[in-house]
Subunit: 297 residues, 2 copies
């Protein structure tokens, strides 16, 4: 397929490599051109404008947040004015439900299709075609995009015809991960303060009831107090919980645990951890329990 | 081995069957004698007093809560006065850290050993020897009990020499399960209210990041709104979160998520769900979001 891809951060660059490896003709665009050029060496065509990236009629976006995607789509020389009628915009970013709804309206008014397809997984998973993808949009549009989405990873859920439904699922998942972080942080601080070996407790729990990747990965980071290597930055975690709470409030859904977790992220920001991985919640719980920072510190 | 077992609720009865199946000579005692008699048909000796159950020198207890265990151990004609010097009391119940510490002191003063060995798993797991066990106590006592504990299930963690350490681990685990219940309840209420198929979201999440028994089992109960069949009753869930908060407060460990979850259990009690499974938190979240009770109702 002839595909455009806009946004070449760590996730976008990984996805570009996967699309190229699977034989797609890919045109890439990034505001900072140097990132696009390194992909040029791997076979991508480097676009110098958004309109060039939209020429094939199918354009993917992978941007950091609402503001970045909004200006990329609705701004002057943006996607809305660059994509032909009948063209498809597939948004892979984690954005608000409200923006997703708005883009659906704008694209429809321009005679274009809008598919929302946020992804679960780290940059390595993006590069290796191991993402889990949730897609929503008009049936015909989603089916037309299926060959692209299936290349991104082994797991694709098509959840409905309103694009923002996919964003609901993505935010739901990130809320659950954030809750795992905070509850593990509290649990392990309690265990440590009670004189119990936190690593042994974690190993026991994650080899029985909590035998899931998310508990093992983040539990280990919390036990070891390792938050400098950033897989997912604290401000992005805070952003996602904020988006969940906004979308839930819009539907009159109270989420008491989400509210607490948001406050814990805010505390972590206040204590100067903006450059840390979001697992730094473990440090906050330890500090609040009067414990030294890391288990082995 | 010649073992006494006191407390024949669903968990205790299951454990009795497992011990009998593995060739132990078992003497059982229960306040309500009829429960003991049905085990008599399966080869157990039915004791008519606590002292009879203590004759072998090793006695296990599986009782509902602190009050029941406290009176069974410290009451007149209780275990403390019935067990010989050098005898071992293995407590399998989910009790407070404080009571566990107190029993350790009392048994030591009586020249007896005390091993705390709470278990994870439902009655079926108890009956089939599939429990996960966390044990703590004096090294020699725990090693002497090992053949008994290993029969209960495939997973045994020995966490330390202070018996209450095992209770810390058990309470930590139950706190994490309770948090899964509440966070899933909030997440699925948000999804449903947003028009998204909760069953599809659950299936997606539990086949990717949250691929763990606890998410699958309880997620299904929440999606289906099935809380009448009681695996673990709401009041017991509330009790365990209360015990976590008490033990954490005693160590000066704040647990903000645990505090919220406690309040959700209290709300569920207030709405008349004392006879329901603790997964009824799903109904509370749905009600608070203005949703009809069950997804398929």
């Amino acid at each position: 397929m002839d595909i455009g891809l806009i946004g070449l951060g760590r996730m976008g660059a990984g996805i570009a490599k996967t699309l190229l490896r699977n034989g797609n003709r890919l045109t890439v665009y990034n505001r900072t051109r140097s990132r696009a050029e390194s992909l040029g060496k791997e076979g991508a065509k480097v676009a110098s404008s958004v309109v060039e990236a939209c020429e094939g009629g199918v354009v993917l976006t992978m941007l950091a947040d609402d503001a970045a995607l909004e200006s990329m789509v609705l701004g002057e020389s943006g996607i809305l004015r660059s994509l032909r009628r009948g063209g498809v915009h597939i948004s892979l970013s984690t954005i608000s439900v409200a923006l997703s709804d708005r883009l659906a309206v704008e694209h429809a008014a321009a005679g274009q299709e809008f598919v929302s397809a946020p992804v679960f997984g780290r940059p390595e998973a993006a590069e290796n075609g191991k993402l889990a993808v949730v897609a929503a949009g008009a049936k015909s549009a989603v089916e037309a995009c299926r060959p692209i989405l299936e290349v991104l990873g082994p797991k694709l859920l098509v959840i409905g015809e309103r694009p923002s439904m996919a964003n609901v699922v993505k935010l739901t998942g990130n809320f659950l991960i954030a809750t795992v972080l905070e509850s593990l942080s509290e649990a392990l601080a309690f265990a440590r303060k009670s004189g119990v070996d936190a690593a042994a407790v974690l190993d026991f729990l994650t080899s029985t009831l909590f035998n899931a990747p998310v508990y093992k990965t983040y539990g280990a980071l919390i036990v070891e107090g390792k938050h400098d290597q950033v897989g997912f930055a604290l401000p992005l975690g805070l952003k996602d919980v904020r988006l969940v709470l906004q979308a839930a409030e819009a539907q009159n859904v109270p989420m008491p645990v989400a509210s607490v977790v948001r406050d814990r992220f805010v505390t972590a920001m206040a204590r100067g951890n903006a450059d840390k991985d979001w697992s730094v919640l473990g440090r906050i719980a330890a500090e609040d329990a009067g414990l030294a920072r890391a288990h082995h510190a």
